[in-house]
Symmetry: C2
Subunit: 278 residues, 2 copies
């Protein structure tokens, strides 16, 4: 496993116009690769944000679709691994879509995927969000190898569920990606807090790529893409614009934190009386 | 269940001189009660901090001991419920001590207790801490009624273990107490972060009473006792001195947060593939 890894996060403002989103993302992935990044992370629903109808129209299967082909091509062209934020996925025989994070290696091959487990059905800041109108939850936490680093995949609202992030740590994750489309109202109080807490309590790196600005009419996204280290130090954070951030991850840093403050090893699993099912 | 509850946290500098600690605590409990508090929370090991030998000398059984009698008397005298931070408890037939949080009702009766589950065996800020030299871990999460509020009990290092705090939420906690003796080195980066994250992700109130200053020779405690609401807003925080803070908890606030952003209800327990044991 490599000792260091440069990770970049792309921050953008995606809307319903898929072609426009693809064009902007292509430019920002190129900028991200130019930072020397080995891994580039896109935000949630980077290729299309809109109504349920617009999401259905933009959805792609894993076999085809312009976004899927574009991600594979960008990874190969720049020689970077790509955590493709998420796209809405259409699956054979299913009425609802999935919110799916696809991962490509530096040769452009799909190496794994994660379907968002927690649906954003809430009322915040005077707006109602019902992700489950168009989408259904995934069922499986995923950790896979990305450029030699065991990497856990999550999406946005998942960050409110510490059990998922703990399970990823127990499965060996040393980096967790969080593509997101966080609201301004919740983001101002919870975005950095929860991302840093996940990094600290699980002693791994967290890389969060966010939507910024007016992604839906009258609704503002929080932005502030960030990369945090296993002590919770924010290594990079994005200003409020479409941009790219990057930081270098260092496995020795992670090992040092885990050796000196061995909270993962100090778990007392026999004392955890989970209700059934947990 | 009552709609509002005033909670106070006592912050002090405890050392090995038990009589001196008792005298200071008595004064600060009186100050806390004078804020109109229904519940007073003391810090971790409020009655004695020291070497393993000093802790053994200061330890008490549940039946006797001056600290146990004092807590019962203070609760009755002031008509407040008391979450007695923690004391080192000596148990029949056991070589090691427990780090035990005792709870008294406003008539001075012991209503429940929690023994700290996670031992602080770490090396941080150039110092080694080995709590398990003198103490053994507890085995059971505890939620009990405190003045009509279901209250979860934890101690200090526990705050790094989100599974414990989640279990308390699933057991119905609406308030969780965190008596603590946090180091300056870890506190500067993790104290407020983890306390607020536990409040946000579990949508309950958190009341944390801390040791402040030089509790052990050459070793500084972080202080900054705080009370956070279910959105993570810090309602009160202590300056760097021996003092008292208080805040009013409001059940309507908690219910509003849980109704609009129902993340506890949105858990997807069937997807959580815990290793065995979890």
């Amino acid at each position: 496993m490599s000792g260091t890894l440069r990770v970049a996060c792309v921050q953008l403002t995606s809307r319903a116009d898929k072609a426009a989103n693809l064009e902007k993302a292509e430019q920002l992935v190129a900028r991200a690769a130019a930072t020397g990044a080995h891994v580039v992370v896109l935000p949630e629903k980077w290729n299309a944000i809109g109504t349920p109808d617009e999401l259905h129209a933009a959805a792609e299967t894993l076999e085809g679709g312009e976004s899927v082909h574009a991600m594979s091509g960008w990874a190969r062209q720049h020689g970077v691994a790509l955590v493709g934020g998420s796209i809405t996925e259409r699956r054979e025989g299913r009425e609802k879509l999935s919110n799916t994070s696809l991962v490509y290696d530096s040769e452009g091959s799909l190496t794994g995927l994660y379907r968002k487990i927690h649906m954003f059905d809430v009322e915040v800041g005077g707006h109602v969000y019902r992700e489950s109108d168009a989408e259904e939850p995934g069922e499986e936490p995923v950790v896979l190898d990305v450029e030699g680093w065991p990497t856990g995949l999550t999406v946005c609202y998942d960050v409110r569920f510490p059990e998922l992030y703990r399970i990823l740590a127990l499965q060996g994750a040393e980096l967790v990606t969080v593509p997101a489309h966080f609201t301004l109202y919740t983001g101002k109080d919870h975005w950095e807090l929860l991302l840093r807490a996940r990094a600290v309590e699980n002693q791994y790196y967290v890389a969060a790529a966010a939507q910024i600005g007016e992604t839906l009419p009258g609704r503002l996204s929080y932005g502030r893409s960030l990369i945090a280290d296993p002590w919770g130090v924010v290594l990079a954070v994005a200003p409020d614009e479409e941009t790219v951030i990057s930081a270098e991850l260092d496995r020795r840093r992670l090992e040092d934190v885990r050796a000196k403050l061995p909270s993962l090893a100090s778990r007392q699993a026999s004392a955890y009386r989970w209700p059934t099912p947990a």
